[in-house]
């Protein structure tokens, strides 16, 4: 379990990283925490000719707060988020999700941006950033643009980055004072990838009642207006959910059962006063 030979560059700036991406022409990978790419390299499933380490780029580990949002550098580790580097009003979901991702050793190195780019359907950040309505900032050597999180992920292990793009930061809106968050994942074992996962964001002040179902075979499934799944007494309409899951490609009845459980539990959390 040793990787095939590769060249290694530690980029000092986003522009430099992007330039190397451009020059390398194909068999090149950016590496941040390496918690997914590392095993793939060791198993020789990924065989890039060049690895560009971006963790030494100062701006990628910055955190910038504004009144209604926080912008998290792509190379901020999950452990840093767990430990409260990103905290404050309306940001509680971030640390609470972070602390249940994999194991501390993984969180110590794994980054929010790396996980999001990897786009593993069962990754917590994928579902979470979808549900929070995050925005991704992407740069090349000489351009910058923003992509909404739900457009950044294209499918399982597929993101919207162009060959020279570097994900630089992720902007997460704050919850309003009355905003509520629900999150539940079904794992056989603490720290393992989930087999079902749901996030619910209920933020009446911003007019948001959104639910996201993750750990599917593809892109997370977005329920833009979760009120459709709710009966008059506020409980979840199970048959509507099952039908919705079915029509969104979750063909396996056991998977639907687990997803239903995850969603109803996330819903219940988000309904708490």
């Amino acid at each position: 379990m040793k990787p095939a030979p590769f060249d290694f560059i530690r980029a000092a700036s986003v522009a430099e990283a992007s330039r190397h991406l451009k020059q390398a022409d194909g068999a090149v990978r950016l590496v941040a925490g390496g918690q997914s790419l590392g095993p793939m390299l060791n198993l020789r499933l990924a065989r890039p000719k060049l690895l560009i380490d971006i963790t030494g780029i100062p701006e990628l580990t910055e955190i910038e707060e504004s009144g209604d949002a926080v912008t998290i550098g792509a190379c901020v580790t999950t452990a840093a988020i767990e430990d409260g580097r990103v905290s404050g009003r309306g940001l509680d979901p971030l640390a609470s999700v972070a602390m249940n991702i994999a194991y501390r050793a993984v969180r110590n190195r794994g980054t929010i941006g790396g996980s999001f780019c990897h786009a593993d359907p069962a990754a917590d950040w994928v579902t979470t950033l979808f549900a929070l309505g995050a925005e991704c900032f992407v740069a090349t050597e000489n351009s910058k643009r923003a992509i909404p999180a739900d457009q950044f992920i294209r499918g399982a292990y597929e993101n919207a980055l162009e060959p020279n793009d570097v994900l630089t930061a992720i902007k997460v809106p704050r919850l309003s004072v009355g905003g509520r968050w629900g999150y539940y994942k079904v794992c056989r074992k603490a720290g393992e990838f989930a087999s079902a996962m749901a996030a619910v964001l209920r933020d009446p002040d911003r007019g948001i009642y959104r639910a996201v179902i993750g750990a599917t075979h593809g892109k997370p499934i977005l329920i833009a207006d979760a009120r459709e799944m709710q009966s008059a007494d506020g409980s979840l309409k199970e048959s509507a959910v099952v039908h919705f899951l079915e029509s969104n490609g979750i063909a396996n009845s056991l998977a639907r059962r687990q997803q239903l459980a995850a969603l109803s539990r996330a819903f219940a959390q988000a309904r708490l006063p």
Binding site: R44, A190, S253, L254
Partner: protein, 783 residues
């Protein structure tokens, strides 16, 4: 006032280095000129191997079967009637028979470079249909694993004691049970370092093994060397569990390579090799039927069982062990008189099976306990009451012979079970089950009971036809010049704490301070030949030998001490590190100093055998010891997700006289964690082409700290009447009881839903499927 002797929870002497990261494992050895090895392994389960292409630039760094001309294959053929031999090549030639089978050795200065070479070697393979299911493998149209056989069965066993006609029995219950193939996963994988020692004129292998001397014998056979030409060093070993109780192909390959090349070579197994090439335990299938009277009294058991033994027969344990054990041990602790059992060890295109901790018994216990639970259902009795009705009463325990003639040694089985029932609080759980749980989960309680025959003696193992029959364990015990004690044993601790427990035995006899007793193990140059550590045998046989040798040493010391005290030898005794006669005494240190440094002060008649003695041990009854235990579990099953959580777990065990209760607790808890893995998490599924589908730890699930509950261990201590100090073997039982207890608890929780599961592991998918099928069945019945 027991402080350091038998029965004291002495802190483990070896833990000082382990906890400080100063242990010395194969990977810690530093040897100059060392090169690393990576293997080219078969990517497919069954194929003709037509050619191995080695790029020109790597010739000289790659070796194939064509190079290993003088090396004999590994053959483990027990002398059992009808056993079919399999020759396991060190490197495959002609045919590959499982994914991960070794095809070529690649050598380079670093492992990464060796893997680059392995990567560049290509194979010309003609794939054949793979034999992946042990039941289908027994069908007449199945492809053959070994072309020269006429079927895929290594060997069959049967028991048939069926005098009465039970067709009219009130109760007849049947179950189909399957246990999954999985990995043993010691913390340290296998590893081998091999070099030529020019000074000692031998081939030295530093290898992570449970039994250095057996590796020496196996290598001697494969390489045609004498035992004196081979030295095996087994340093600290990070867990074995049976995984390191065999002669490995890699050991033979590295030994050959070290003889061929001018520099030392090393191979360290990585996680991928372990997962993909070594899922080698526990895969059984049972069709079992129990007959009982209306009062729950068991009348008879019928069973047909299959063991997926894999492609070859491992040396020296062989592919037959588990199938033999099932036929012999299935009756368990219960009294009944009609028994029919047929078992088969079946060859498949998977890696060879090895006996994992508890060997076949976790499956056996699950099978017989499923029948006891089913009888409880039929009679309406509590499952533990059914068991109590069928147990051997304590007054008959040492005389009763069960349906296959097995005779226990000592103890009180019903009392053990009753203590478990009380400790887990069955009555309270029954009350709790009457109300729904606030979180919607369902609660269940389950108990398993089993007898753990361990420390089998020479006669028992000879009857299994093993190529290496364990003999009478020996120990060398020496009083050093400083009056300290050095113990040399051929058994090998791979986590059991022998450096502590053997010292406790010597302390018990000699009274020398425990810190001044050193245990030397793991080197064939310095230890008596031994079949080593497995099968819960070391404390009984090795400990017995340490006691015998210590007693002999005490006698020699007493002679010298008596002379120094100017008294008769029959007036002195050895205790507290002294030779004592009435109020006067000399220390063993003084005795040693006189013997080694001032022998002129001793009479001419002194025993010149000295203070360095070797003695052996045979238990008074050679059939093994019979530890027994009850495991009790309370679980919560989430019917919405299929997830099981263990809420409470109790073990009540009678392991005879306990040498070190703290170490015993560790053994039981560690074993139980593995049993929880077998029951709930661990599995290596294979696809129809024989590809293992869990080849990384993303797909292979081990229980972790959050999945293993606090295990409460309660002891009974009924000494064995047949062993030194009354010690019984107990290293494996922890892993035997959990599947039966947890399956019973989960099915208890699922009972209101009419669902039950007997397919291990109990995955959420299997539990949800059982729930859905039961619901569909109810709807069907309603419609």
């Amino acid at each position: 006032m027991v402080k350091y002797g038998i029965g004291a929870s002495v802190l483990r002497k070896e833990d000082d280095r382990f906890l400080r990261g100063r242990g010395q494992y194969v990977g810690d050895f530093r040897v100059t000129g060392l090169q690393e090895v990576a293997f080219v392994r078969s990517p497919v389960a069954h194929a003709r191997l037509k050619q191995v292409h080695i790029p020109e630039r790597f010739r000289g760094a790659v070796f194939t079967a064509d190079d290993l001309v003088d090396v004999k294959p590994i053959v483990s053929a027990p002398s059992l009637p009808g056993f079919k031999r399999s020759a396991e090549p060190i490197l495959a030639a002609g045919k590959v028979r499982f994914v991960g089978e070794m095809i070529a050795i690649c050598v380079a200065p670093t492992r990464a470079e060796a893997e680059d070479i392995a990567d560049a070697v290509s194979l010309d393979l003609e794939e054949l249909p793979a034999v992946t299911d042990m039941l289908a493998a027994c069908e007449p149209d199945s492809p053959l694993v070994h072309d020269e056989w006429n079927d895929n069965v290594f060997v069959e066993f049967s028991e048939n004691v069926w005098k009465d006609d039970l067709s009219g029995a009130t109760i007849k219950v049947s179950k189909s049970i399957r246990t999954a193939r999985h990995c043993m996963f010691p913390m340290e994988g296998r590893g081998v370092l091999a070099y030529r020692d020019e000074r000692l004129r031998n081939l030295t292998l530093v290898t992570s093994t449970q039994f250095p001397h057996c590796v020496q014998t196996g290598l001697s056979e494969c390489l045609g060397l004498s035992h004196g030409d081979i030295r095996i060093i087994s340093p600290d070993v990070g867990g074995g569990f049976g995984y390191k109780g065999l002669l490995c192909r890699e050991e033979v390959a590295l030994a050959w390579l070290a003889l061929r090349l001018a520099h030392p070579v090393r191979w360290l197994e990585d996680c991928r090799e372990h997962l993909a090439a070594n899922a080698n335990c526990r895969e059984h299938h049972y069709e079992i039927t129990g007959y009982a009277a209306a009062d729950g009294k068991l009348l008879g058991v019928e069973c047909v069982a299959h063991v997926d033994a894999g492609a070859y027969s491992s040396y020296p344990v062989s592919s037959s062990v588990e199938a033999a054990q099932i036929a012999n041990l299935l009756p368990g602790p219960y009294m009944f008189s009609a028994y029919r059992c047929r078992t088969a060890a079946v060859a498949t295109n998977k890696c060879p099976i090895l006996p994992y901790r508890g060997v076949a018994r976790s499956g056996i216990c699950l099978a017989i306990e499923a029948i006891m639970d089913a009888i409880a259902q039929e009679t309406g009795l509590e499952p533990h009451d059914v068991r109590l009705r069928n147990m051997v009463p304590p007054e008959q325990i040492s005389t009763y012979r069960n349906v296959v003639g097995k005779q226990f040694d000592s103890g009180d089985h019903p009392e053990c079970l009753r203590r478990a029932v009380d400790a887990i609080g069955v009555q309270k759980i029954r009350e709790r089950q009457k109300r729904p749980e606030p979180d919607g989960r369902r609660i269940g309680v389950g108990i398993s009971f089993f007898v753990e025959q361990g420390a089998h003696g020479t006669n028992v193992l000879a009857s299994w036809g093993r190529p290496i029959v364990p003999g009478y364990e020996q120990a060398q015990v020496k009083l050093t010049v400083d009056g300290e004690v050095e113990i040399h044993v051929g058994t090998h601790s791979h986590g059991q704490g022998h450096e502590t427990t053997y010292a406790q035995v010597a302390h018990e006899v000699l009274g020398v301070e425990i810190d001044k007793i050193k245990v030397v193990q793991g080197d064939t140059m310095y230890t008596p030949y031994s079949t080593a550590t497995w099968g819960s045998r070391s404390m009984v046989h090795g400990g017995g030998a340490v006691a015998r040798a210590s007693q002999l040493l005490a006698k020699r010391a007493a002679q010298i001490g008596a002379w120094l005290l100017q008294t008769e030898v029959d007036k002195v005794r050895v205790a507290d590190g002294k030779v004592i006669a009435g109020d006067s005494s000399v220390t063993l240190c003084e005795v040693a100093r006189v013997w080694y440094l001032q022998p002129q002060n001793l009479p001419a008649s002194v025993d010149t055998g000295g203070l360095d003695v070797t003695a052996g041990y045979r238990a008074a009854r050679d059939s093994g010891t019979f530890t027994y235990a009850a495991h009790a579990a309370v679980v919560a099953v989430d019917p919405a997700t299929g997830i099981v959580e263990i809420l409470n777990y109790v073990v009540v065990e009678d392991g005879g006289t306990l040498v070190n209760p703290m170490i015993v607790d560790g053994q039981i808890c560690g074993g139980t964690a593995q049993g929880i893995g077998t029951c709930l998490y661990e599995a290596t599924p294979f696809d129809t082409q024989g590809q293992p589908l869990a080849s990384t730890m993303i797909d292979y699930m081990l229980p972790g700290a959050t999945e293993v509950p606090d295990i409460r261990v309660l002891h009974m201590q009924t000494p064995s009447p047949y062993t030194e100090f009354g010690i019984k073997g107990l290293g494996e039982g922890g892993a035997v009881g959990p599947p039966a207890a947890i399956v019973s608890a989960v099915n208890d929780a699922l009972r209101p839903l009419n669902a039950e599961v007997f397919d291990l592991p109990l995955t959420p998918e299997r539990i949800l499927t059982a729930i859905e099928e039961a619901a569909a069945h109810r709807q069907g019945a309603a419609a």
